[in-house]
């Protein structure tokens, strides 16, 4: 493989990773920073504080996962992402209970919003994803070792 082919392959990989990360939440991040979008969509500060780092982390890891496809790194990154997401989701949302002061039709109202069951369901999905990635990593390494053994045997 010459240098030109390697660069082209790398370029394709980067573009593919960018497209995937755009698809997996990047578009929301881009929209989020558009001034016209922020004019219509405003959220109270604690949600904003939790939402931005979570989404950014998700998109960055997605980019790295797609970039390193064909190695064991995506499995590790996916597992790490699932674990970090579980931790951050519980930390940033106070375990699924969110309290804020909002102005509803001119009256300041203290709102407590509880979404524990949704958070628990999402945690279960993340755990499922984590277990899938652990199994994937084991399978991937197993295949690699088998390939290596086959190559050695053929020599």
């Amino acid at each position: 493989m010459d240098k030109g082919e390697t660069v082209e392959k790398l370029f394709r990989r980067v573009v593919r990773a960018l497209l995937w990360s755009l698809l997996m939440g990047g578009e929301i991040l881009l929209l989020y920073f558009l001034p016209s979008f922020r004019l219509y969509v405003t959220s109270p500060s604690p949600i904003e504080d939790a939402f931005l780092p979570l989404l950014s982390l998700f998109v960055v890891i997605e980019f790295l996962i797609r970039l390193t496809e064909g190695t064991v790194i995506p499995y590790i990154l996916s597992s790490a992402r699932a674990s970090i997401m579980i931790y951050l989701l519980y930390q940033l949302t106070g375990g699924g209970v969110y309290t804020s002061s909002l102005v509803v039709r001119g009256v300041p109202v203290e709102v407590t919003f509880q979404f524990r069951s949704v958070l628990d369901a999402f945690t279960l999905l993340l755990l499922l994803d984590l277990s899938k990635n652990v199994l994937g990593a084991i399978s991937f390494l197993h295949e690699k070792v088998e390939e290596q053994l086959k190559t050695e045997a053929s020599f």
Binding site: V104, V107, P108, V109, E110, V111, T112, F113, Q114, F115, S117, V118, A121, F122, L125, L128, D129, S131, K132, L135, G136, I138, S139, H142
Partner: protein
């Protein structure tokens, strides 16, 4: 192994898509209800006077324009004085299906017995300011629950025995004291019952009792003489104190020292 991973991948993806679809749909549905002009609407309180009580009536409308159900809707009002709850009332709606509407009136009733039970007998005589605390609780789509608390609002309290005064005006020298009783019923309620006055001498011995039926509409002044029958001759100067009781159908409120 590969089969297991493939199945896990497929099920995780499918469940994630379903999960986000559900979250988005419920969020949109709730937003649709809340953003509707009369999605969750509460009117102004209105006073309605009754016998020895009055009600604060607040109309409400819940218009569930979304696709999911509201559950356990509780509209609670508390009336407090100095952080002591005098009365609490809850309107409960067990279920409100998607696309349905509910009109109703939330009622908070204050009666004289509630005041006595809360140790607030002084409110029968004095103007003051009470606090009105309102909360709304509900569950949505079986997974979200909300608790909304409006800030405490002041509520002017108008007493039924405002500017109460009692003067012993005459003694017949044998068995009857004549007292002049004055008060203004500023409250929205009609006060109906019996007034009882117990007269004690300076040593604390009960000397006489005066009884009078009372039926006074809201906003009317009471200025009537009341006969107190005494057991032994007792001059007005020898009176130690006079206790005031108000007897309703099933309760006696008092004693309140009104003289001495």
């Amino acid at each position: 192994m590969k089969q297991v991973i493939r199945t896990l991948t497929l099920s995780t993806t499918l469940l994630t898509v379903l999960f986000f679809a559900f979250v988005l749909l419920t969020g949109y549905s709730l937003f649709k209800t809340v953003s509707t002009d009369q999605g969750l609407w509460f009117g102004e309180y209105r006073y309605v006077g009754r016998e020895n009580s009055f009600s604060l009536l607040m109309p409400y409308c819940l218009n569930n324009t979304g696709h999911f159900e509201f559950f356990d809707v509780k509209l609670t009002t508390q009336i407090k004085h100095d952080n002591v709850t005098i009365v609490e009332s809850t309107t409960y709606i067990p279920k409100l299906e998607g696309g349905s509407k509910r009109f109703g009136v939330h009622e908070v009733r204050i009666n004289l017995v509630d005041l006595a039970d809360a140790g607030m007998v002084h409110l029968l005589f004095n103007k003051t300011e009470l606090n009105l605390a309102r909360t709304l609780e509900f569950s949505y789509a079986h997974v979200y629950s909300f608790h909304l608390a409006a800030p405490k609002t002041p509520l002017d309290w108008y007493p039924p025995f405002h500017r109460f005064s009692l003067k012993v005006v005459r003694y017949d020298g044998r068995s009857t004291l004549l007292a002049q009783m004055y008060f203004e019923n500023l409250s929205p309620m009609r006060i109906k019952g019996k007034i009882r006055l117990e007269v004690f001498d300076r040593e604390g011995r009960l000397f006489g009792i005066g009884l009078s039926d009372l039926d006074l509409p809201s906003g009317v002044v009471y200025d009537e003489p009341l006969k107190i029958v005494v057991r032994e001759p007792l001059t007005p100067e020898a009176i130690g104190k006079i206790d005031f009781y108000f007897e309703t159908e099933n309760r006696i409120i008092g004693p309140v020292e009104v003289y001495g």
